[in-house]
Subunit: 213 residues, 2 copies
DNA sequence: CCGTAAATGTCGTCG
DNA sequence: CGACGACGTTTACGG
């Protein structure tokens, strides 16, 4: 049973319980994706007791959320210390795309000059801020997948940036590997240019071994 | 190693591998929350082989995503069929809140009459559409936690609904159990009323055993 | 610690 | 199957 941000109950059945070194607990079924049926995230603490003859775990975190597990039968029990994990190394996420685009602005349009990446504003950082050859500025929002919320995000930035006389007029470019129809429609409605970019092609442009000149 | 929507690599270390009945695979470390370091979601298929003397699993899905796992050493290996899971029963999510508010519009304001829940528009359903006693309509967006994206969502609806002469003028109410300061500020800036609602109180109102009349 | 944005998000629902 | 929104989102990154 979980009680916290919502209340949830899990009927009795065979499950896999995983207790991690940091006190977190996962309750998995034999299907579904990686999300457990029920869980407690760290930081939290586990206490073990016997309630009415049954093994019971109580897992609590600082926010007062509580996960109570009653064990009716143990099919198997195994314990092993794994030690610290070196962690996952990723390639191809938004930050990589941003870096490559900053170095290859031609992929986005003609005559763009980079002002800076992660240009700070009061409502969050603009992925890329550029100067346009014709004058004025260009704010670029980059997504791996271009959905509607990215258009909203860029719209907020444009509204704010256009109040700055040193930057105005500021136009917008929405760059993504894939742009959803609804996002494209909303972007066009707001005068925002959509550009599809190809990560692999950009990476090729960036790879010195593939450069011809 | 994962290759698909991005590329990712996980250095050799002690881990927990979980193979589920539907072919999905999780690779967990001894910390962090419920998200595995690496994984493959169903539907997918697992093939097992020996590559250069080492046990290797290849997990593929229909989209051509590939997860390759090389096993250097097995500390423990356990298999058990769990059967079909009865699943988690939740209480306190947005749909409950929406239902309770539809039945207790007084909690949101005076003189409101429900037109319908999930009022359909071209850009998505409005949680609650009401008529105001003074004429015109009221669109209500409900969230468990009121953040900025909910204000954006409601703003889009209002813009669209106000184009409909049968509904206009349409004002907005943003109802949530908790409203973030930034969301409140943006809502006020756009003339949207914010209302904090208490799920437990509403549930009490709805509980027939607690009714006085 | 709060606030914002990204995510191999996942998960449900509805067309 | 795609589109869209909710999620106990989780996770990473700033200030």
């Amino acid at each position: 049973m979980y009680s916290g941000r919502l209340a949830a109950e899990l009927p009795r059945a065979a499950r896999v319980l995983m207790f991690k070194a940091d006190g977190s607990v996962l309750i998995h079924s034999d299907g579904g994706s990686y999300k457990p049926l029920n869980w407690m995230s760290p930081p939290c603490s586990v206490s073990e007791s016997t309630v009415e003859g049954e093994l019971t775990f109580e897992v609590v975190n600082r926010g007062g959320e509580l996960l109570t597990i009653t064990v009716h039968e143990i099919h198997a029990d195994y314990k092993h210390a794994l030690g610290v994990d070196p962690g996952l190394i990723k390639d191809g996420v938004e930050s990589h795309l941003q870096k490559l685009l900053a170095e290859n602005l031609d992929a986005l349009g003609d005559g763009l000059t980079l002002v800076r990446r992660e240009y700070p504003t009061a409502i969050g950082p603009v992925d890329l801020l550029c100067k346009a050859a014709a004058g004025g500025s260009v704010a670029i929002e980059i997504k791996r997948r271009g959905e509607i919320d990215g258009v909203e995000q860029l719209t907020r930035y444009l509204e704010l940036l256009n109040r700055d006389p040193l930057l105005a007029p500021v136009s917008g470019i929405y760059a993504a590997q894939e742009i959803r129809p609804q996002a494209k429609t909303l972007a066009q409605d707001r005068g925002i240019t959509c550009v599809r970019v190809d990560y692999e092609v950009l990476k090729g442009l960036d790879d010195p071994s593939l450069r011809l000149f």
